[in-house]
């Protein structure tokens, strides 16, 4: 028994369909409800009896429940549902995506490698490390330049009096110093023991009349560690030169004095040396550092 139409404005066509549906025998399925009736059933526009009739029809029919479920899906799609896509739509979507990727690549250009945040961070870190290294190196260069340009006082002096030619090596003890250069004063052998002739060049050198001399320091293996040309005798008849300390670590050397007249390099004096360094004691600190090597 009908409980009254829930909606007074039900479609006349739907009403007629329902009447036809009822006449066909709903218990045995009979004629199937149309999609319009099913839509009305889903929208709660039918009476209770009509709902019951349709539900009874569902028990004997397979198509109508499927149709109603499809209507339900269409009107109330579930969130996780994904619609089936046609091949044409997929192809078009893929072409659009490729075109977009190509445009993005062209726009980024040379900076493509740092497009990702992680790569950009790595690049910035490397650049920062390089900049810090360069800054440190420049600062060190400035410090070195200031230190090198600062006039050096209190040169450690190594006076080497060659004396008479001998076979034993001459021991030279040099005071330890923080300075960079070592002042070496070489007294040729003819001046030793003759104070009055210190103002005169030694005989060997006087004889040649050379205006320039060369001095060579070689290791016991024959490797040259320092050489200087164009040296001239001072008032005391000695050759004075400054040598970087780093070139003269403690060890055995051979000192050679060369005559450079006429472009030749003639050895006029030579001596084996053994250099050693002595740390300044508390008593000698502040005094003028001097060393002597006397044969």
């Amino acid at each position: 028994m009908s409980r009254g139409s829930p909606s007074g404005s039900r479609n006349v066509g739907v009403e007629r369909l329902l009447q036809a549906f009822r006449r066909k025998g709903r218990r045995r399925g009979g004629d199937h409800p149309t999609p319009e009736i099913l839509a009305a059933y889903q929208a709660n526009e039918l009476t209770a009896d009509e709902n019951a009739a349709i539900q009874e029809h569902f028990l004997h029919c397979r198509e109508c429940p499927e149709t109603l479920l499809d209507l339900r899906e269409f009107s109330h799609p579930r969130e996780n549902d994904t619609a089936e896509l046609s091949d044409t739509w997929l192809t078009l979507a893929w072409q659009r995506l490729r075109a977009r990727i190509a445009r993005e690549s062209d726009r980024v250009g040379p900076c493509r490698w740092v497009a990702t945040p992680r790569r950009a961070l790595v690049a910035c870190s490397c650049l920062l490390a390089v900049l810090l290294g360069l800054a440190s190196w420049v600062a060190w260069l400035h410090t070195e330049m200031r230190r090198l340009s600062r006039p050096q006082i209190n040169f450690p002096v190594a006076t080497i009096e060659l004396g008479a030619p001998g076979t034993e090596p001459l021991g030279v003890v040099i005071p330890a110093s923080a300075e960079r250069f070592l002042l070496v004063v070489v007294a040729p052998p003819d001046l030793v023991g003759r104070q009055e002739s210190r103002a005169r060049p030694p005989a060997a050198l006087r004889r040649t009349g050379s205006r320039g001399y060369g001095l060579e320091l070689v290791t016991h293996r024959g490797q040259a560690v320092w050489n200087g040309d164009g040296l001239t005798l001072d008032a005391s008849g000695s050759l004075t030169l400054d040598v970087p300390r780093r070139l003269l670590p403690a060890g055995a050397y051979r000192l050679r004095i060369l005559n450079l007249e006429g472009g030749r390099r003639e050895e006029v004096a030579a001596r084996e040396l053994i250099l050693s360094y002595r740390r300044a004691s508390a008593a000698t600190r502040g005094q003028h550092p001097a060393a002597k090597g006397v044969s």
């Binding site: 889903q42 709660n44 709902n51 019951a52 539900q55 009874e56 569902f58 028990l59 397979r62 429940p65 109603l68 479920l69 339900r72």
Partner: protein
């Protein structure tokens, strides 16, 4: 299924309320799941589960054993 069993099932189904019977038949004859039955019967899914549980209980009392069907009956 034997005739006597079918008769027993039919008699048991007739004793069920309409809503319960329809839920039972849609589930174990037509093979719809609980969510689909809820849509077809315009019920909440919890109500459908309850009706099925009740129907199984009553049929079990009547000596009818129910097993889960495959989809499509």
């Amino acid at each position: 299924m034997h005739d006597d069993q079918q008769e027993r099932l039919r008699a048991a189904l007739e004793t069920l309320p309409d809503e319960m019977r329809r839920c039972f038949l849609l589930r174990y004859v037509q093979g719809f799941d609980e969510g689909e039955i809820a849509v077809l019967m315009k019920l909440r899914i919890e109500t459908v589960r309850l009706r099925l549980f009740q129907a199984r209980g009553r049929l079990g009392v009547a000596g009818v054993t129910v097993r889960e069907p495959e989809r499509g009956g």
